[in-house]
C-alpha cells in the first residue's frame, strides 16, 4: 500500500525538469558551433558556466520547493515523448526526479558548476578551450540524463553518453602520447561492463515486461522494480547466478557497475584516465561519473535485495577493491595517480555498503566523496598549475608557503577522506563501517566481521597514503627546481602555456587565480560540514537529535520497501543464510517492512547505540593512527622507497596484457588477419575477380569487329537451335 503511494505518480508534467538536462546540451552546442569560431575564452567560459548554472538553479528549485522532490514522497515526472514502442516493449524519453535522483542531481550540478568555474582558470591558454567546455557540458547533459532517466534504457543512453564524454576528455590532449591509449582503455573497459548492463536490462524486460523505474498510470506503464519486489527472494547459491532469475539480473547489472565505477576486475582504466585534464579527473573520474555504478545499484536496490548471492558478490568485490586500491595508492608518486587509486578505493567502500544492504550509507558516502574528492582533485590541479604542470610528488614539497589557500583547502579534503571527526568523510565512512559490522541480513554470519576488518584496514591505509600525499606535497623539504635531468618528466599540457613551455622550472610555484581558489574554498567548506546532514543517531543522540537524521529521512522512501517473502527453505539451510529479519538497527528501516517516510521507527536499543559509539571511536582512532603513521614515515623521508610490487600496481596491467590483450592481439593478427582476412576473404574475392577477368579476356574475341564473324556466330546459334529441334523431332518420330 505504501509503495503504491510512493510510486503513484504526480502526473502533472513538470516541464522544468527537462531544462536541467537540456541547458548543458545547449551550452555544448553553442560552444561547439559559436565558441570554436569566436575563440574567446571569456565567452566560452561564461556560456559553459551559465549552462550548468541554469541546471543547478533548477535542480535546487525542484528539489527544495514546497512540494519538491526532496520534500514530497512522489517523484517529479517529466514525460517528453514516447521514444520506442514495439509490442509490449515501451521506452519513454521521460525524466523523473525522486529523492535519490534528486540528491544526485543536486551534487552533480553543484559540484559540476564549481568544477566548470575552476576549469575556466585551469584551462586558460589551451588551444582546445572551446572543445574542452563543449565536452564538459555534453558530459553534464549525459550524466544528468543518466541520473534523471525514468527507465533503464534512457539511463543506458546517459550511461553510454558519459562513457563517450569520458573517452573524449581523457584523450583531450591530442599531442600527449599516453592520452589516446588511456582513452581507448577506458572506452573498452567500459564496453565490457556495458555488456553486462545491456544483458541485465533485457532480462529485466523479459521478467517483468517493463523497463520503467516508476509506475506511470497515465501512460499505462508499470514499474519493473515494483514487479520484482513481489517476486520471491532467490536462494543464496552460486547456481542462482546462472539461473536467469533476479540474481542473474543483479549480477549482470553489477558487471556494468564494475566497468563504470572501476571495481575489480575492470578498474584498470581509471588510473590511466588521469591523462586527461585535472578538472575532468575531478568531475568525471572522481565526483560524478564513476559513482554512476553506485547510483544504478541503489536505484535497483529491489533487485539486489532479492538476490542475496549478488549482494554477497557486491560486498566482496567492494571490500576487495577498497583494500586492493588503497595498497596501490600508498606507493604511487604521481599526485593524480594517488587520488585515482583513492577514488577506486572509496568506490569500493560504497559497493561494500551496498553489498551489506546499507544503501543510504552508500549514497551518503557518494555525496561526501563527491565533495572531498572533487576538492582534492581540484587542489591537486591547483598544485599542478602552480608547479607549471609538474605532477610528480617527488619534485614537490614545502608548497604550503607558496600556495596557502590550496594548502588550507586541501587539508579539509585530506581530513575528510581520512575520517577525522566533524569532516564529511568521517560520518559516511564511519556509517559504512558500522553498517558492515552490524550487517546481518545480507552477509553470511561471520563475513560481516571480516568485511569490517578489511574496511578498517582500508581506512587506515587511506589515512596513511593521503597523509603521504599531503606531506610530500605541502610539507617536507622543497625539492622542485633541483634536478631537471631527472628521468621521467611528466608534463600535463605538453607545453601549451607560454611560460611553462619556455622555462619549465625557472619559476617558483605560485598560488592559483581566483577562479580556481574560490571553487576550492567552497568545496573545502562542503568537505568540512557536508557530512552533518547525516550524523548517525548514536552521535546525535548525545546532543538530543532525532533517531533518523536528515539524510536517512530523505532517502528512506527510495530504499524503504523490502520484500516480505523469504528465501526458499533448502537454499537457506545449505549455506547458513540468514533470512532478512525485519529488525531495525539504529532506527534504520532500510530492510524492514515498508515504512512511511519519517513514520514510526523503533528506537535502537541502548546496547546497540553504545556499540556503535564504540565503533565510531575505533574509526577515529584508526584515522588518527593512520595520519600519525603517514606523518612519521614520510615527514623526514618523503622519498622513502615503496615496495616494488605496490609501485607497479601488482602488475595487474601486465597480467591483463599477458592474459587477455596479447592473446587477442595475436589471434587477431595471426589468425583473423593473416589467415582469415588475407586467406579466406581476400582469397575468395581475388579468385572471383580473376575468374571474371579471364572470362572477359576470352569473350573479348567475339567482339573484334568483323561483320562476317558476327554472321558466323548467328549462323552457329541458329544451327544449334535447329539441331536441337531436329534432334527432338527425330526422337518423337522414332517413338
Amino acid at each position: 500500500m505504501s509503495s503504491e503511494q510512493l510510486y503513484c505518480l504526480l502526473l502533472t508534467a513538470y516541464s522544468m525538469l527537462r531544462y536541467i538536462i537540456f541547458a548543458p546540451l545547449a551550452g555544448a552546442v553553442i560552444n561547439w558551433l559559436v565558441g570554436r569560431r569566436l575563440r574567446n575564452e571569456r565567452f566560452i567560459g561564461i556560456v559553459a558556466c551559465a549552462a550548468v548554472g541554469v541546471s543547478t538553479l533548477i535542480a535546487f528549485y525542484l528539489a527544495f520547493n514546497s512540494n519538491g522532490a526532496l520534500r514530497s514522497t512522489q517523484p517529479i515526472m517529466d514525460h517528453l515523448w514516447t521514444w520506442i514502442q514495439v509490442g509490449k516493449f515501451r521506452a519513454d524519453f521521460a525524466l523523473a526526479m525522486d529523492r535519490l535522483s534528486g540528491i544526485y542531481a543536486l551534487f552533480i550540478t553543484f559540484v559540476g558548476l564549481l568544477i566548470h568555474v575552476f576549469a575556466t582558470g585551469y584551462m586558460h591558454g589551451d588551444r582546445g578551450y572551446y572543445r574542452f567546455f563543449a565536452y564538459l557540458n555534453l558530459f553534464m547533459f549525459a550524466m544528468l540524463t543518466l541520473v534523471l532517466a525514468d527507465n533503464f534504457l534512457l539511463m543506458f543512453v546517459g550511461w553510454e553518453g558519459v562513457g563517450l564524454c569520458s573517452y573524449l576528455l581523457i584523450g583531450f590532449y591530442l599531442d600527449k602520447d599516453e592520452a589516446a591509449p588511456a582513452a581507448k582503455k577506458a572506452f573498452i573497459a567500459n564496453r565490457v561492463g556495458d555488456w553486462g548492463f545491456v544483458l541485465g536490462l533485457m532480462l529485466v524486460f523479459f521478467m517483468t515486461g517493463s523497463i520503467s523505474f516508476f509506475d506511470k498510470p497515465g501512460y499505462s506503464v508499470s514499474s519493473a522494480l515494483t514487479a520484482i519486489s513481489t517476486l520471491p527472494i532467490d536462494g543464496f547459491t552460486w547456481h542462482a547466478i546462472f539461473a536467469g532469475g533476479v540474481t542473474s539480473i543483479a549480477v549482470l547489472l553489477f558487471i556494468g557497475a564494475t566497468g563504470k565505477s572501476a571495481q575489480i576486475p575492470l578498474f584498470v582504466w581509471l588510473p590511466d584516465a588521469m591523462a586527461g585534464p585535472t578538472p575532468v579527473s575531478a568531475l568525471i573520474h572522481a565526483a560524478t561519473m564513476v559513482t554512476a555504478g553506485v547510483y544504478m545499484v541503489v536505484r535497483c536496490n529491489t533487485i539486489f535485495t532479492h538476490a542475496p548471492t549478488a549482494m554477497f558478490i557486491v560486498a566482496i568485490i567492494g571490500a576487495g577493491t577498497a583494500l586492493f586500491a588503497a595498497t596501490i595508492g600508498i606507493a604511487q608518486n604521481d599526485i593524480k595517480k594517488v587520488l585515482a587509486y583513492s577514488t577506486i578505493s572509496q568506490l569500493g567502500y560504497m559497493f561494500l555498503a551496498c553489498g551489506v544492504g546499507a544503501f543510504i550509507a552508500a549514497i551518503f558516502h557518494v555525496m561526501t566523496h563527491a565533495f572531498f574528492k572533487a576538492q582534492l582533485f581540484l587542489g591537486s590541479g591547483s598544485v599542478i598549475h602552480g608547479m607549471h604542470h609538474e605532477q610528480d610528488m617527488r619534485r614537490m614539497g614545502g608548497l604550503r608557503k607558496y600556495m596557502p589557500i590550496t594548502w588550507i583547502t586541501m587539508c579539509a579534503g585530506w581530513l575528510a577522506i581520512c575520517g577525522v571527526p566533524i569532516f564529511a568523510g568521517f560520518f559516511s565512512k564511519d556509517e559504512i563501517l558500522w553498517k558492515t559490522w552490524s550487517a546481518s541480513s545480507f552477509v553470511p554470519a561471520g563475513f560481516n566481521k571480516a568485511l569490517w576488518f578489511v574496511g578498517a584496514i582500508t581506512a587506515l591505509l587511506t589515512a596513511v597514503y593521503m597523509t603521504r600525499l599531503m606531506v610530500m606535497t605541502f610539507w617536507s623539504n622543497e625539492r622542485f627546481g633541483a634536478d631537471h635531468s631527472a628521468d621521467h618528466h611528466q608534463t600535463e599540457h605538453g607545453g601549451h602555456s607560454a611560460e611553462g613551455a619556455h622555462e619549465p622550472h625557472a619559476h617558483k610555484p605560485h598560488e592559483s587565480p581566483l577562479s580556481m581558489t574560490v571553487p576550492l574554498i567552497v568545496l573545502a567548506i562542503l568537505s568540512t560540514i557536508g557530512g552533518l546532514v547525516g550524523v548517525p543517531y548514536a552521535l546525535s543522540s548525545l546532543a538530543g537529535g532525532r533517531p533518523d537524521n536528515y539524510f536517512e529521512r530523505a532517502l528512506d522512501p527510495v530504499v524503504g520497501h523490502a520484500p516480505e517473502s523469504t528465501t526458499t527453505g533448502e537454499a537457506t539451510s545449505e549455506v547458513h543464510w540468514q533470512t532478512p529479519p525485519p529488525q531495525e538497527i539504529d532506527g534504520k528501516p532500510a530492510f524492514g517492512p515498508a515504512h512511511e517516510a519519517g513514520g514510526a521507527e523503533h528506537a535502537a536499543s541502548a546496547t546497540e547505540l553504545n556499540e556503535e559509539r564504540l565503533f565510531t571511536l575505533i574509526s577515529v582512532v584508526i584515522a588518527l593512527v593512520g595520519i600519525a603513521i603517514g606523518w612519521l614515515m614520510f615527514q623526514r623521508q618523503p622519498l622513502r622507497q615503496m615496495p616494488r610490487l605496490l609501485e607497479n600496481k601488482y602488475y595487474v596491467d601486465e597480467a591483463y596484457d599477458a592474459a587477455i590483450i596479447n592473446p587477442i592481439h595475436v589471434t587477431s593478427r595471426e589468425g583473423l588477419w593473416k589467415i582469415f582476412d588475407v586467406g579466406v576473404i581476400d582469397g575468395f574475392l581475388h579468385t572471383l575477380g580473376r575468374t571474371i577477368v579471364d572470362l572477359g579476356r576470352t569473350f573479348r574475341y567475339m567482339q573484334i569487329g568483323f561483320v562476317r564473324g558476327y554472321a558466323a556466330i548467328i549462323l552457329a546459334g541458329a544451327l544449334i537451335i535447329i539441331g536441337y529441334f531436329a534432334y527432338h523431332g527425330a526422337q518423337l518420330l522414332m517413338r
Binding site: 573484334i704 569487329g705 568483323f706 561483320v707 562476317r708 554472321a711 558466323a712 549462323l715
Partner: protein, 101 residues
C-alpha cells in the same frame, strides 16, 4: 506432272543456303546485302508453298509482312552502306571493323 510441295521446299532450301554462304564468304557489303535478300525470299517461297499446300491464306499474309520488312531493311541498309562508303571509301566490310575512324 503436278509440282510437288517438296520441290518448292528444296528450291527454297537451296536459295537459303546460297544466301547463307554468300553472307559468310562475300566481303563486298552490297553482295552480302543481296544474299540477305535471297534468304528472305527463300523463306517467302516456303511460306507461299505451305500456304497453297494447306489451303491457308495466313502464309501469304506473312509473305507480305516479310516483304514490307525487307523493303524497310533495304532502305535503312542502303543508307548505312552509303554512309560507310562516304566515310571509308570502301565497300569491304572487313575495312569497317572499328567503330572509330
Amino acid at each position: 506432272m503436278v509440282p510437288q510441295l517438296s520441290w518448292y521446299l528444296a528450291l527454297s532450301a537451296v536459295l537459303f543456303t546460297i544466301g547463307v554462304v554468300g553472307v559468310m564468304i562475300k566481303r563486298n557489303v552490297i553482295s552480302m546485302f543481296m544474299c540477305i535478300e535471297l534468304m528472305l525470299n527463300a523463306v517467302n517461297l516456303t511460306f507461299v508453298a505451305f500456304s497453297s499446300f494447306f489451303r491457308d491464306l495466313s502464309g501469304q499474309l506473312f509473305v507480305f509482312i516479310v516483304m514490307t520488312v525487307a523493303a524497310a531493311e533495304a532502305a535503312v541498309g542502303l543508307g548505312i552502306i552509303i554512309a560507310i562508303f562516304r566515310n571509308r571509301e570502301s565497300l569491304d566490310v572487313d575495312d569497317a571493323r572499328s567503330l572509330k575512324l
